[in-house]
Structure formats: structure tokens, C-alpha cells
């Protein structure tokens, strides 16, 4: 197939293939607060997590402009340039290579992208990178000790609590979050705890068993 010369022209100079290549576009001139207020959905989401001024700004930031943020992920600080509309999920998977956080719907329905934010399970697809600053983010990878599985992961292996394994990272993080809040959950607590995580293979029955086993494993280790 011949290349189409015209389309090669579309390689725009300001295309942000790599955030690090574009230090000049840090977007310092636009405050994060101003951006959030200008973006309907972002503002609605942020309203619960970030304190916003009551009056909305009319300032609109062009797509492609980047802002510098700093994220605390699994105990490490990552400094990076992002478009303000990038979801935390997109940043984790496509920019940081943390593919243990999966993508299923990007609309807060399936839970495949569940991460812990300050210890609580949240959907990474429903959070913007810019609003995740200052929070302690834990992904599936953060539950490991080197190559060693964490107790919830071990319990999932032993109870065969997955089939295709794609929703599994989200399920594991949801159970981790549940057990941090409630170390001895009853069956109904577990059901509710993972009810925001769809498993289309239908392995819930074994997920319940794994959560129960994980609680015991954690207790045996003094709540590791």
C-alpha cells in the first residue's frame, strides 16, 4: 500500500507522543483549579474530592495542552506531564506501564480498574490524573512484595477465584480494600464489597471463598 503524502502532513508539531519530550508545555499558566472548574464533568467529580471555589471560571484549555502533576503510586512519586482530561486509568496503563489495572468500560460500571485511593477502592476510570495528586494510590502491583504474592492474591489462586483473569486485579483490589476496612467480613459484607466488580465469567462463588480465605491469611500474618 502506498503512503498517502497528505496524511503525513498531519503529523503535527505539537503532538504529544511523549509527555517528557515537551517540557515547554507544562501549562503552568493555567491553574489546576481553573481547569477543573471549566470542565463540567471534572468539576462534578472534583466537587467531592477537591475543594473548589463556588464560582466557575469560563477559561477553557485547548486539548493537547499539558500540565505537570505528581502522583504517589505504590509508594513511589511519579512526576509527569498530562492532559488535564486524562483519566488516572489511562495514565497508569498507557503512560506508566502499570497494566495490572485493567480497562473494561471507562464509565464506572465494571470495576476492572479498581485501585485503592488512600486505602479505599475507587474506579481509576472515573478519576482524572490531575485530581489524583496528593492521594496515596495503590494498584495491584502495589500488593506484591517483589515477586511474592500478597495474601489476597494467594487466596484467589487457592480458591480458583477467576477464569479469564481480566477482572481479577480489580476484584483483588476491591477485596483488599474491604479487608482493610473490615478484617472479618460476613458473606453479605463480601458480596457488597465486590458488587461493584463485574466478573462475566461468573466466578463470584469462588471470589466469596477467596475473600474469606484472604481474611484468615491476613489475620495469620497480623493483618499484613
Amino acid at each position: 500500500m502506498e503512503k498517502e503524502p497528505e496524511q503525513q502532513k498531519c503529523v503535527c508539531e505539537d503532538s504529544s507522543t511523549s509527555a517528557e519530550e515537551q517540557p515547554g508545555k507544562s501549562g503552568k499558566d493555567i491553574s489546576r483549579r481553573g481547569f477543573l472548574a471549566s470542565l463540567g464533568v471534572g468539576a462534578a467529580v472534583a466537587a467531592t474530592g477537591v475543594h473548589l471555589p463556588a464560582k466557575a471560571s469560563t477559561e477553557v484549555m485547548p486539548a493537547g495542552n499539558l500540565v505537570r502533576i505528581s502522583l504517589q503510586i505504590n509508594g513511589l512519586t511519579h512526576s509527569l506531564l498530562v492532559e488535564p482530561r486524562w483519566s488516572l486509568l489511562f495514565i497508569l496503563r498507557e503512560k506508566l506501564g502499570l497494566s495490572g489495572t485493567k480497562v473494561g468500560c471507562e464509565r464506572g460500571e465494571c470495576g476492572a480498574c479498581t485501585v485503592l485511593i488512600d486505602g479505599h477502592p475507587r474506579y481509576a476510570c472515573m478519576m482524572l490524573g490531575v485530581e489524583s495528586e496528593g492521594m496515596e494510590i495503590t494498584t495491584l502491583e502495589g500488593l506484591m512484595d517483589g515477586e511474592k504474592l500478597g495474601p489476597v492474591q494467594k487466596a484467589f489462586v487457592e480458591e480458583d477465584a477467576f477464569q479469564c483473569g481480566y477482572c481479577t486485579p480489580g476484584q483483588i483490589v476491591a477485596v483488599e480494600g474491604l479487608l482493610r476496612k473490615n478484617p472479618t467480613p460476613a458473606l453479605e459484607d463480601i458480596r457488597t464489597g465486590v458488587s461493584g466488580n463485574i466478573c462475566r465469567c461468573g466466578t463470584y462463588h469462588n471470589i466469596f471463598k477467596a475473600a474469606t480465605r484472604a481474611a484468615k491469611l491476613k489475620a495469620g500474618k497480623g493483618g499484613a
Binding site: E2, R85, F162, G202, N206
Partner: protein
Amino acid sequence: MNQQNDNLYFIEGFLVPETPAHGEDPQPWKETQVVGTALPRIDAYERVSGRALYPSDVVLPNMLHGALLRCPHPNARAKRVDISKARKMTGVFAVIPGSASGTNIDWSYRGKGKTKLFDSHCRYEGDAVAAVAADTPYHAWDAVRAIDVEYEVLPFVSDQRKALDPQAPKVHEEGNVVGKPEVYERGDVSKGFAEADVVLEQEYTTMTLLHTPVELHGCVAKWDGDHLTLWESTQGVFAIQGEMARALKLPLSKVRVINPYMGGGFGSKLQPGKHTACAAILARMTGRPVKIFLTREETYLCTGNRPSNIMTLKAGIKKDGTLTALQFTATGESGAYPAGGVQLLDFQIRELYACPNVKCQSTDVYVNAGPARPFRAPGHPQASWALEQMLDALAEAAKLDPVELRLKNIPTYSQSNAGNPPYTSTGLKECLEEGARVFRWKEKRADQKAKQEGRIRTGFGMASALWFLGGGRPPSTVVVRLFSDGSANLNMGASDLGTGTRTIMAMIVGEELGLKPNKIQIENADTGTTQFTPPSGGSKTVPSDGPATRAAAVHVKQQLLEMAAQDLKVKSEELAIVSGKVQAKNDPSKSIKIPDISGLKTRGVIVGVGYKKPNPSDRAINPFCAQFCEVKVDMSTGEIEVTRFVSANDSGRVMNRLTYDNQVYGGITMGIGFGVTEGRVLDASQTGKLCNKNWHDYKVPTALDVPAEITSIPVDPHDMEANSIGAKGLGEPVTIPTAAAIANAVYNATGIRVTSTPISPPQLCKLLAEGKRKG
């Protein structure tokens, strides 16, 4: 190097099964030591740690992201596609409308229905109009939204009843009936109905279901010169390779498809999508890898579905329960292209129960909606919804127990396959009896006779099933390699959909060679490095690739024993493998450690090749199943809670008890979706558009919808004829009768027969209110 004194990989004290001579089939296993145990999956670590790399996880240097513009109308002509604004946008590298060079590609739906990659006539909402590649998915979608399309919106039809009206808009020139109706007939149904003491007739309908595997459909495409590599989330890498080679006019040797892990398919990932071709074209055009993963909404529109069916079933029995006649007339929605709207729909009507007089007619219908695709046991759960509710009604009319009625009509041979071959095994009787015993069916139903009062009513129901495929089938080729230290590599083309294929095949190798399954290295699902096999689907992966794997391991053993025979100066047929050594059967002093065998040292590797042989032509091989359930119905809200399930399955040998039970739980969960929560809604009267294209509005079962108590009962008839491993497949049969069992339980609780899926609160409320009015 070789750590000969440490047991790194073999099972201590394990005498491996007899090794047949070259050209002879291995004997069926009698006792097994590895196969059948509850071994945790050998790839569990990768899946729970996030190390498993699924196609959607692939990020390559310089990679671009693609997105497709899809037609928003159910029937329209894209008259003008203006990309001038889109191609100038930030981060955009390429935009391809149908007029771009290299996009004039013929497209079909698994070989049926001729269209184009970008057909200007879009016959369903979601058909592809153009595609974009940009540096981020955000920029790609910005550009998609900036493409300006002038559509000529055409009249549509999105309902199969309306489509059959001669005045309806035509989806295709030839009309709205796909091909000719499928007809099956044996005996004389009018004679059968005349002989019956009870005859009932009822219409049943099922809604369209969406597969919605959690990993989205998509791929990454990368070119190295004229060599295309695709990481596609698929059930069959060789199917993708074949179809993409054909579409792009490349030899198979220039298309490599890789997919060792995939995030669910259920039949929707047996074929490439238009995204696959778009990614390949955009990657070639830009000289960069291109990743296209669909949005969840797109997967609802264009990655297949379980078609909706309208079925009328008329059935007759004698007083003693003997079935005398079954007459089945059905239509089904293929979608906008021929895609199997009535595929395998009548199989259970023909086969599940002994009945001398059967007549089936199934008509496949075009509508302006996304084409169907096979969905876990195509056709079977829909027909089960009709047949198993009908049997329940017949049993009540004849004052028989539903289990007794089924036991009265158990077939011993295939009634509709040519020559009426006997089944290798039919565990239907055992499934019914064992399931009923464990469920305490008789006691529960006897208690039920007392009239229930109050708001919450409890009901008990059951249903049985068979699946049309059991013994697997050729082709399948598997390679097993023995390394110089005696550890092994298993090389197979099959995808592991989450059914445990890798684990089960490793257990087969372990059984034959005395190796620990979790020490076996596995390569699978890569057209560049693994062996040909059709897509994983139809519950045929274990019965097809399993025997091929066993044959490959046997081939390794034969060569190893011949090599050892030379060292030990003992005939190879007198040798056996035990604890990492080869030794004479009657003189254990004559033995040699596997790494010390001269022939193995010289060659450095032993390569065993195994093939799936054809099934016996004079036998029918099918898995059977019976399920029993308890439901609680809220008489004021119409909500139902499924509180208990028992599933008894004859799927032949249990290969791994953990993955076996897991399939049972998963099949029942999916059946609950079909029966209680799921249904695609099209705005048939106004816009023809899909109304519930997300998991919020289209509700799949969650952790709150499954029973706390599910019991899996394997009924193993020790089938020595099905194939060399004796397994018949489980994944599909276990989801077939679930919805009908629930419907029968709801009837038992309420006296209301729900003949349309799903048994949703609004529907049940309405039926309960109507029931009250009738008194």
C-alpha cells in the same frame, strides 16, 4: 546444568501409563494420578499478579491509538465523508474514510454476506464509516468527532415479526429472510398428537443478549516491512490469521497473531472485527504500531450477540409420560448480515428426549441491527427455555413429577444424526437422579404442595440439557518437547479463555511423562510459534486438543524409551518411566536417569507430535446436564432471588476438579443473566437505536445476583469411546438449562408461567397483577 540429584520436575514414585507401540492408540486411563485432581491453575500467578500480558495491555514504542467512526443510524447511506478538519487536528497521524487507498477491502461475516470494510450503505447502527490514528486515544476520539458525514437516513426494521411483513423495509435486496428456512422432520407429528393424552402449545420468546467479556475487543497491529504482527484479544489466533491474510491479500506466513492471555470471549471473539483491518491499514500507512480497542458502547453495537428468538412449541404425551410428538416453529434475528439467527436452535428438540415424531422449522431473519455471533452454546439456551418449560407444563397437566417425566424419555441413541448412532455414554439418567437426590427434590416439592401465603414465596424448578458437540474433532496438532534435563515444553495453538486449557493440557503431559504440571513450560496461541488448531469454542478444546496433547506426550515417551533401550540393552517395550528414570519393568536394577540417556544427550531434545484423530463415525458423543434450583419471589415487587442451584453434569472425565466446578458456577451465573437480568433493547418504533448499550442499563449478574449455595456434581460415566482422554466438554452444557430451571421454579412459587425472557420485576409484576385479576 543438569541438576541430576535434585528433583526439580518429576513426580516421585509415579509409574507413568503404558507406552503403546508406534502407530497404536494409547489405552484409556484407568487410574489417574494427576488428571482429575483439584490442582490450582498453573498460570494463576500470572493472572493474579498482573504479569499476564493481555492484548489490551500491549504498549509498543512509537505506538499510536486508533478509533472508528461508526454509523449512528440503523440504516443509512454515508453520502459524503469530510475528513478535512479531522486530519489537521492535534496529534492526528492518519484518517481513513472509505475513499482512502488501501481501504477497498471485501468483508464478510465468517464467510457469509458480502460487504466492504467501509460500505457506504450502513445496515446497522455501529457499522464502520472511517478510522483515525493519533498519538493518544483522546486525540483519536477528538478527530472521530470532527469527521463530518452526510447521511441519507433510510427506513429501518429492527423487529423480526415486522421484518417478515411483506411491506417492511428490506434490509437486503433479496428480502428479509436469510436463505431458506431450516426444516427437520421425522415420523408423523399429526399421528403423534392423535396418540397423545395431553397436548399443549405455547409461544416462547427470548431477548437478544450481549456477550460483554470484560476485556474489550481490540488489537495492536505492527508491521515489520511486509510482515504483519497482531496482538488480538481472540479465542482463535489461527482464525484471525486466516481472515486477515485473506482480507489483506497476504500469505499466512506474513501474518502472525499472538494472544497467550485473553479476557473472555464467550463466542464473540472467534473472528476479527473491522477494527482489526483498520489497525493494520493505519499501522501500514503511518509506519507505526496502532492500537485499537473498542469502547464498551461499541462492543454492544457490533461485536455480536445471542439472537432473539420467537418459538412456538406444540408437544404431546401419553398419560404415562411417553412423548409422542414435538412440533417446533421458530424465527431468529441474524442482524443485518447472515450470522446464524437460528443456528443450532432446534438441536435439543430433535435430540434431548426420545420422541418418534418431530417436526422443526426455523427461519432466520434480517433486521437492521448488529450481526449475531455464536454465544456460549448457540441456540441451545433459547430452545431450552421453550422445551424445558413445556415439559414442566406437560408434567403438571399429566400429574407427573417433572423429573419422572424426563426419566421416562431418555434417549440411548442419536435420533437425528444419520444412521441413528448410539451415544458413547448418556449420563442424563444419572444427572437427573443424582441431581434430584442431592437437591432433595422430592421432599422439597412435596412440602411445596401446601399453599403459600405472604409476600415472599419459595419455588423449586429443574431442567435438563444436552450440547451438540462432545468428542471434539480434528484438526488439532500439539507438540511436546523434552529438554535435555527431562523437563518439558508444551506447544499448542489453543487459547485459554479462562476455562483452564493450559492447566488441563499440562496435567495431561504430567500424567503421561510423570512430570509436575506446574514445572512444564507452555507456549500457546501464537500463529508464529505454535501448532494449528481451530478457535477455542463449542466446549471442544479439551476433547480436541486434549487427545492431541496426550498423543504428543506418548510420542515423546516412545522415542525416549527407544533411546534408553540402547543404553540399557533392554527392549523398549519392557521399559517404563518412573521418578525421572527409565527402568526395566521386571528388573528395577536396570535403570538410567533421563538426563543420562545417550540419545537425548546427543540430540539435546525430543520432539513429540500429536494429532486429534477423527471421532468414531458410528457413535454420537454428547455431554448431558440436569439442574435444580430454588428461588424466592417477592409477590409485591416481582423481584426474584435465586437462592440455590444444583448442577449434575455428564461431561465425561473430570480433568481438574477446581476448573470443572468453576465452569459450573460460571455457566449458572451466565444462565441467571439470560433468565433474569439481561436483554438488549432497541428503540424499534422511533429511531431503531440501541437503548441500553452499557453495563448500567444492560444488567449482567453481579455478586449480589448469584446464589450463595451452588453444588456441582460430576457424573462420570467412564466414557472410553469419546476420545483418548474420555472428556466431553463442559463450558456450554452447563449454561443451557439454567434459565428454564429458574422459570419453572418461578412457576412453582407463583403459578405464573413467564414465557418471555428476562423474568424482570416489571414483567413479573404485570403478570402477577393479571393473575390476580383473573383470580
